[in-house]
Symmetry: D2
Subunit: 132 residues, 4 copies
Amino acid sequence: MDYDFRLEMKVRDYECDIQGIVNNSVYMNYLEHTRHEFLLSKKVDFADLAAKGINLVVTKAELNFKSSLISGDLFFVTLKFNPVSKIRFEFEQNIYRSKDEQLALSATITGASISDTGRPIKVPEIIEQISV
Amino acid sequence: MDYDFRLEMKVRDYECDIQGIVNNSVYMNYLEHTRHEFLLSKKVDFADLAAKGINLVVTKAELNFKSSLISGDLFFVTLKFNPVSKIRFEFEQNIYRSKDEQLALSATITGASISDTGRPIKVPEIIEQISV
Amino acid sequence: MDYDFRLEMKVRDYECDIQGIVNNSVYMNYLEHTRHEFLLSKKVDFADLAAKGINLVVTKAELNFKSSLISGDLFFVTLKFNPVSKIRFEFEQNIYRSKDEQLALSATITGASISDTGRPIKVPEIIEQISV
Amino acid sequence: MDYDFRLEMKVRDYECDIQGIVNNSVYMNYLEHTRHEFLLSKKVDFADLAAKGINLVVTKAELNFKSSLISGDLFFVTLKFNPVSKIRFEFEQNIYRSKDEQLALSATITGASISDTGRPIKVPEIIEQISV
């Protein structure tokens, strides 16, 4: 495994659905929380930026569901950051069940920086901070 | 627009996040609910199947976020069903803001049928029901 | 039934948990969405107020769970508004399954108006608008 | 503080709403997760019980919101268990922001054991396990 950041979490029962497995949409939550924790570790605060009118948004998400997490599972999310351009960046993210490192999900998330009015904005300082 | 099914909904405030827009993960909820309503319209009940040990699961999701929905927005989700094989099927799904039909999201969701033990199972009768 | 406002909804499968019933926390979502739709019907926009630094917040919630909603259930939420003071108000809210009007939940929600800095603020115009 | 169990968590950005604070319904998630972790610590597995047709459900929730948690906040949830009868039990739960132990929420959650058909069932062995 080759990654820039890793976060451990545990499935919470309310995240599981009728099928007894973590609902698909919840993986988006896990991925987002990991990205935001990664950004924080680089001194980039998603909430602060939002308050300043700089919105980091997801423009594309490709999710490959490999196996299901269930109640009680410990898991970890890995993240690899790839700057693509001054306004676009990519996160390679995988989710593994901790006990056997079985891959639950592999994802590629593409993000951009947009202003409050919805227009793309350059945030070179963010990208540079992260790239270092 | 070319689709097999369409569902109208309205953004609920609790679905919006710090940025004041619908959180990314919530679009997965909208898409899922639309798929399940479509299936129900074809007499295929997701919850009933789950209770019988037949789990319809998402194996792949490709989401292209085009514009953001916000508090109060009315929107509709369209769905086109493509059977791919006896155990695999695909949904083309778009989300449009109602007032101007602006595209908010376009997605391709690939699904499969698996047993309680996680193995792929054929559900030709379901696929056939839907294909009609 | 004696109420000021009523909203029809349908259970969505992602709102159900391992037990196959709507998760407890989701009823809070149903109640909130109904309150916000009620406020909108009185020209009070929760999101607009938040953007202006006036936050309507819940200070107390008493929830009595009577019966469970499940996948596919249609239900309606009723709301009765009681102004308590210039900064405090109360909502009596019930949730009924539509097909037989069985009570699923009865709740009393107490709300207040606070500023961005967390201090109580008078919003007489809001209360008056609603009370009319 | 007098409690039987305590769990540390951190606010995740997707849990915050338009107001920039943790949405009310999310506290129900925090409380539930803490109860289930407490039960697990007593060898009582909520998901296992559900699979066996024994459903632990909430019959009443009283929530007093004292202050708001926001993005990035570390917090802990305390729990005190009070058996009320063979089929009814109570949890006193508080949520505190970690950095200054400011009380965010105090709650009393009443629970019962019901069968798949919705009837109350005695689970003396569960209560006894927990009470010890």
